[in-house]
Amino acid sequence: MRLRRAAANAEEIVAGAALVVVVLAVCWGVITRYVTAQPAPWAGEVAAFAFAWCVFVGAAAVAKRGGHVSIDMLTAAFPAAVQRAVRLGAQVLGIAFCAVASALALQFSLANLDNPSAVLRLPLAILYMAPATGFALMALRMAARMLGGRPGEAP
């Protein structure tokens, strides 16, 4: 039960934790700047990495709720049957885009496995895995939504 709930809220947990890391890293940067007159050089890098994870995985949590901003001005005037068709088309297009974007980001992270970051010398792949993971989750969550709110729906 616990595990299933954790899986349903996986994005919120990962992105929320990443957000906490961002706050802590920046605060640590401020504190060290006053103690050593130089902000801890790694703080900015950790914040940037965590922010990427927060944004892209968080975007999957938004997708799960169907919350991404769109413009429904024009389609609202269509007849119901056309609206359904357009909505289906828009969903398929969105899912396809997320799948392609995820694949591209994955390819890019694999190409950057040996490319270290400026300060911590961590592989930049960690950064590029954020959109790879996030877009994959977005595609999954949107597909689940389209097929009718089965597992993966927020409680």
Binding site: L19, V23, A52, C54, G58, S70, A90, L104
Partner: protein, 432 residues
């Protein structure tokens, strides 16, 4: 203009019209361009998508969202409400006036108009309706008051504009103070006129008295110091706006846990989820826009538009008026932050070319597009308030008209008289 590739723009607009989410529409149009263009490696697309998250100034977005979410649960909002009530409860339409003053006080803490509209609609809406305010007017006052919040620093729109236009966020924050107060004043006058005509009563017969006011001030003191230390900290270079955001998060937690003792550990997951959702919604659009922006830069579209517009009119005033009309129209149809992200990269070079101060231009843009959040048929604060208070959009449009009009007057004032925006940042931080 030979060889200018424009079709990605048509693809983008077509996808918008078909209700594809804004972020995906920009990503798809950009990706199609990358695939079709010769000699453009697809890696650039992946790299551009992540690039925006590497911006230190943009980190202020999640921080101020998070801080606002914490403060709503830390008892800060209720204390500010008591203060607002003690200040203006004796005026005609007292509750509506208190609503506007609260949005102004919250402006110094909260950065998001939507969160503000939702919070006030839940907290004050039912009470106003119970005391005889028309439902439509209640929703209109709440949604319009929320326009003030992101203009008075801190504000997410200002942070995003600062990133897009490469302008100091500190200056933008200071530049928002006077326009925010003007908006509050204009809304109060307009509310007063409506309330008088309709006989909306004051909360109490006369002024609450200095002792009561003093008590309310003392109780709200923890919250009231936040905007002061943000502005002072930024002004004296103690911290950057982003660092101020992170410190505000910590401060709000301390006030909630230790000073007010109203925040509970069990609240934190919900606070984090709420903040993640709001942050990711805005940031994904910015990330996608950065890949679409690569296409626009590749085709040199912003400088071309700038040249064309500058050739059409050399008068900065005419340009500002045109931009305002365009944005009011766009703001009716597109969500404000999305519109800002789309249009700022094109409009800022034009403004720069005609010698318009970038801080002034930013405030005009952000005020205009925030007002777009309450102008039918599309407006997020309007939707929020109407959904919570069960008001039809047509009713909102009628009841909100005098309030929206009052805000457009303020927009015209700050457009025509730049010092209203620029005097404060220039006085405190030196001429830019």
């Amino acid at each position: 203009m030979s060889g200018l590739t424009l079709w990605p723009i048509w693809v983008l607009l077509g996808l918008f019209a078909l209700n594809v989410p804004v972020a995906f529409a920009m990503g798809i149009a950009a990706l199609a361009f990358f695939v079709s263009a010769e000699g453009l490696p697809l890696e650039i697309f992946a790299q551009r998508i992540v690039a925006a998250t590497d911006s230190f100034p943009l980190l202020a977005v999640p921080f101020f969202i998070l801080a606002g979410s914490i403060m709503n649960r830390a008892g800060i909002t209720r204390r500010l409400m008591n203060l607002a009530d003690a200040l203006v409860g004796h005026m005609v339409g007292g509750l509506a006036q208190a609503n506007i003053v609260l949005a102004t006080l919250m402006g110094g803490l909260s950065a998001s108009a939507n969160a503000e509209a939702a919070m006030q609609a839940k907290m004050l809406g039912p009470e106003m309706i119970r005391r005889g305010y028309a439902r439509g007017f209640t929703a209109a006052v709440i949604a319009c008051a929320a326009v003030i919040t992101p203009i008075i620093p801190p504000g997410i729109g200002l942070v995003v504009y600062g990133f897009l236009a490469d302008v100091s966020v500190g200056r933008l924050f200071l530049g928002g103070v006077v326009p925010g107060l003007l908006l509050a004043g204009a809304l109060m006058v307009s509310t007063w006129a409506v309330s008088r005509r309709r006989g909306y009563l004051p909360v109490r017969d006369r002024f609450a008295g200095l002792p009561a006011l003093g008590r309310a001030f003392r109780e709200a003191a923890w919250a009231l110091t936040i905007p002061v230390y943000i502005l002072v900290g930024i002004r004296y270079g103690i911290f950057t706006p982003t660092e101020a955001g992170a410190m505000t998060v910590v401060y709000a937690l301390l006030v909630g846990f230790l000073a007010h003792r109203e925040l509970r550990l069990a609240d934190l997951p919900e606070i984090l989820t709420e903040s993640v959702l709001a942050t990711a919604t805005v940031m994904l659009i910015i990330c996608a826009a950065s890949s679409f922006g690569f296409y626009m830069a590749w085709e040199r579209i912003p400088p071309r538009v700038a040249a064309a517009l500058a050739a059409a009119t050399g008068d900065p005033l005419v340009l500002l008026l045109l931009v305002n009309l365009l944005l009011l129209l766009v703001g009716m149809l597109i969500e404000g932050t999305a519109a800002l992200i789309l249009l700022a990269p094109i409009l800022v070079p034009v403004a720069a070319r005609l010698g318009i101060d970038p801080v002034h231009f930013g405030l005009v843009l952000v005020v205009n597009l925030t007002i777009g959040g309450v102008t039918p048929p599309v407006g997020t604060m309007m939707y929020t308030a109407c959904a919570i208070l069960d008001v039809r959009l047509s009713r909102f449009a009628i009841e909100g008209a005098p309030l929206i009009l009052a805000m457009i007057v303020v927009l015209a004032l700050i457009t025509l008289h730049p010092p209203l925006v620029t005097a404060l940042p220039n006085a405190l931080m030196g001429p830019g």
